[in-house]
């Protein structure tokens, strides 16, 4: 009996020991052998077809205030928290392998927050990158797509953002924030893939550029800034939307969450917004109705006047006009580019699947001729703590 108990105890110990031996996998790579990548840059030289691969990695233990380390590149007593390495090769993987010649650790991609494309490369076509991205099990579908306003991706990967230690995380946060306030779209890999796989819908991505400021002592300070929306056709960037057009785009594709709208007499805060794209086939012609309904609060009224029912109605009308103008601005721009950024084609496809088979091949010709009507239903909800002028 006792022997049996003893044997059981030994067996338990043996089992525990076995789990220790078996834990971990064949290809484990310890943290101190990896460099954790926060942002990836991809460029393609249109003339030579050479690919430049830029890796922004997180420096372990970086970003802390310490005086005994001499790596004080950004002034102050902080060590640098990111390192940017790049290399060029005839193909993407050539560039990546060449990195190993001057990078001490192997890049580890699953924590990448942003994929940045240089403008030149984006204009040439970025299909290659998305192929690698989708094929590679290490990549994440939630990373953000960014187009650099400068020629090369690496141009914007070294500009520090004051608040965030890791620049790419800061960039991602800026994009998400500007998307939250309905300025520019935040586009994840999933979103981009969905659009690139659609036969008609044009992919979009936010553009991040450099804003220069003159700081104290006349020193030039460079900062990152979301500065537009890149419009792709297939995998090639063909144009961009400005701030107003980007907002209009967000209104039409139901991506407005919160944000502020300025009408001549007042500023209003959007609290709720919803939009719908309703296609209609009228003989040969296609008519698209964009129905937007939104609720907003009054945050600033410029006229020194009491808010009456009449004023509310007037403000609502102004608001509707402003939203409509924003949407129409983006529609006109997309017609000029002949790029279906709104997914009108897919909307037609969803409703008229039989007719779509004939429409789809000539969609590029049809698209600029579409009649677009924007119907806005704006409601003013709250007017703030005062109901009379000061």
């Amino acid at each position: 009996m006792k022997r049996k108990v003893k044997a059981k105890i030994y067996l338990t110990i043996l089992l525990i020991l076995i789990t220790i031996c078996l834990a971990g996998c064949w290809d484990s790579l310890e943290l101190n052998k990896r460099s954790i990548v926060s942002g990836l840059g991809w460029d393609l030289d249109p003339k030579t077809g050479e690919v430049t691969f830029t890796v922004q990695s997180i420096v372990p233990g970086g970003g802390q205030s310490s005086s005994n380390i001499s790596g004080q590149q950004q002034g102050g007593s902080q060590t640098r928290s990111i390192q940017v390495d790049k290399d060029t090769g005839p193909g993407m993987y050539d560039a990546i392998t060449r990195l190993t010649q001057h990078v001490s650790r192997f890049p580890f991609y699953p924590h990448t927050k942003v994929y940045i494309f240089g403008k030149e490369g984006a204009q040439y076509g970025i299909y290659q990158f998305f192929d690698v991205q989708a094929r590679n099990p290490d990549s994440r579908p939630n990373a953000l797509i960014v187009v650099s306003a400068e020629k090369k991706a690496s141009d914007i990967m070294n500009i520090p953002d004051g608040l965030e230690k890791i620049q790419a995380f800061g960039m991602a946060a800026e994009i998400n924030l500007s998307a939250q306030y309905s300025k520019y779209p935040a586009v994840t890999v999933f979103d981009f893939q969905k659009r690139i796989m659609s036969k008609t819908t044009a992919p979009i991505a936010p553009i991040v550029g450099i804003a220069k400021e003159i700081g104290s002592e006349g020193r030039e300070i460079k900062k990152l800034r979301v500065a537009g929306t890149a419009v792709f056709k297939g995998d090639k960037m063909i144009g961009e939307l400005n701030e107003r057009e980007s907002s209009g785009l967000l209104w039409a594709i139901n991506k407005v969450k919160i944000g502020f709208i300025t009408v001549p007499e007042a500023d209003l805060e959007v609290v709720k917004a919803k939009s719908k794209i309703i296609p209609e086939l009228q003989g040969d012609k296609i008519k698209i109705t964009v129905e937007i309904s939104e609720d907003s609060d009054l945050v600033l009224f410029k006229r020194r006047q009491d808010i009456t029912v009449g004023v509310v109605r007037e403000l609502e009308k102004d608001l509707e006009k402003e939203i409509k103008n924003q949407v129409m601005a983006s529609v006109e721009k997309s017609f000029a580019l002949d790029a279906d950024i709104f997914g009108f084609g897919e909307a037609v496809h969803r409703k008229y699947k039989k007719e779509w088979k004939e429409l789809q091949p000539k969609w590029d010709d049809i698209y600029p001729q579409i009649e677009v009507e924007v119907k806005v239903d704006a409601h003013l909800k709250k007017i703030g703590d005062i109901y009379k002028a000061l």
Partner: protein, 366 residues
């Protein structure tokens, strides 16, 4: 001849069926050929498989307490019966190898990139061998623990992805030609639902046989509905991407992001594959060795578990050189190949048994 002394309850059988049908379909979506109408295909496949299941459970009911091997030798006579039984056993064996292949391909691609394939496969097969050696009861009890976990993970995954669901991705309904949807539906019936024909080796050991048929259909409905939800959800979140990726559920789990806290849950899908793959391979290995033991008139099936298991692993290692071959076979060949075993053998056996007016209780010559 009683090689197996264990008995499983109806409830355990239900869970075992659910686990078996989940199998590798926790990572590979059925109905892939139909684009975003895949969920319709899966629903059609489920209906077709309910019919198939009805056929073979009727057969099992008519010959209570007999495995397909015993039924065959009773219905067709010794020689022809043995031949048909060997074909059926080959199917179970081959299917087991294919599941192992799926399992290894997934892990090799997504998780253990540098681990040799043989290690990944052996790690699973050895566990299956050990379990099968302990009989069907142990396996059924395993499923009682593992299957609820899998269902829980599937539901949790679906719940956490709700913010990213866009039902527009599922429109327009019936976008691809009907023939394509029907074919994808048949493919969905052959993988994974009707693969449960392997239970013709297990049904003999259910202790109460009255409502086995209803129980079987109920379990299949549960897993079928979960799979329909999973497939529809995959397309609603990923759109066309779900149709071109090898492991849509895994990719979807990568996208889960609740406040940047609840992220990187994809490994749960891998956990599901380990547990469900274990159940599926075990049932198939069990069917293979028990069938062989009955065909060869052995006193026990235990001595042949190890060699058959290793052979299964070897077949898995050598059948398909790469996933393109596997996919090609899965989409074009398998639905036809499997139909012979899933529909053909049970249906013909049932018809022949009816024609010969066999009285199963009296037929104890096996």
């Amino acid at each position: 001849m009683f090689l197996e002394k264990g008995k499983i309850s109806n409830f355990q059988l239900g869970l075992l069926i659910i686990g078996f049908v989940f199998g590798s379909s926790v990572i590979i979506s059925p109905g892939q050929g139909a684009g975003h109408d895949a969920w319709i295909s899966v629903a059609l496949g489920l209906m077709e498989s309910l019919l198939i299941v009805w056929i073979f459970t009727t057969l099992a009911k008519q010959f209570k307490g007999m495995t397909i091997v015993e039924i065959n030798s009773l219905v067709y006579g010794k020689i022809l019966g043995t031949c048909i039984s060997l074909l059926f056993i080959w199917y179970l064996f081959h299917l087991g190898a294919m599941v192992l292949d799926n399992y290894a391909s997934f892990f090799k691609l997504e998780i253990y990139a540098n681990t040799p394939r043989i290690i990944i496969i052996l790690a699973l097969v050895l566990v299956c061998i050990s379990t099968v050696g302990r009989g069907i009861e142990v396996l059924a009890r395993c499923s009682a623990i593992l299957v609820p976990i899998t269902i829980l993970i599937a539901i949790a995954d679906s719940a956490l992805i709700i913010p990213q669901i866009d039902l527009k991705n599922l429109l327009p309904v019936l976008d691809v030609p009907i023939s394509q949807i029907l074919w994808a539906g048949h493919a969905a019936a052959s993988f994974p639902f009707a693969e449960s024909v392997a239970f013709l080796m297990v049904l003999a050991f259910v202790d109460i046989t009255e409502n086995v048929s209803a129980n079987f259909l109920k379990s299949l409905l549960i897993v079928g509905i979960i799979l329909i939800i999973v497939v529809a959800r995959n397309f609603a979140v990923m759109g066309p991407m779900a149709a071109i990726t090898n492991y849509p559920s895994y990719l979807l789990a990568q996208a889960i992001d609740i406040g940047e806290v609840l992220t990187r849950l994809e490994v749960l899908i891998a956990v599901n594959l380990i547990t469900m793959g274990f159940i599926k391979v075990s049932v198939l290995l069990y069917g293979t060795v028990l069938g062989l033991a009955q065909v060869l008139n052995l006193h026990s099936y235990r001595p042949i578990i190890l060699p058959i298991g290793i052979l299964m692993a070897i077949l898995a290692l050598t059948t398909f050189g790469n996933s393109v071959n596997m996919l090609n076979f899965a989409q074009k060949g398998y639905p036809v190949y499997a139909a012979f075993f899933q529909i053909g053998i049970p249906l013909i056996t049932l018809v022949v048994a009816k024609l010969r007016k066999l009285n199963p209780t009296g037929g104890s010559k096996a």
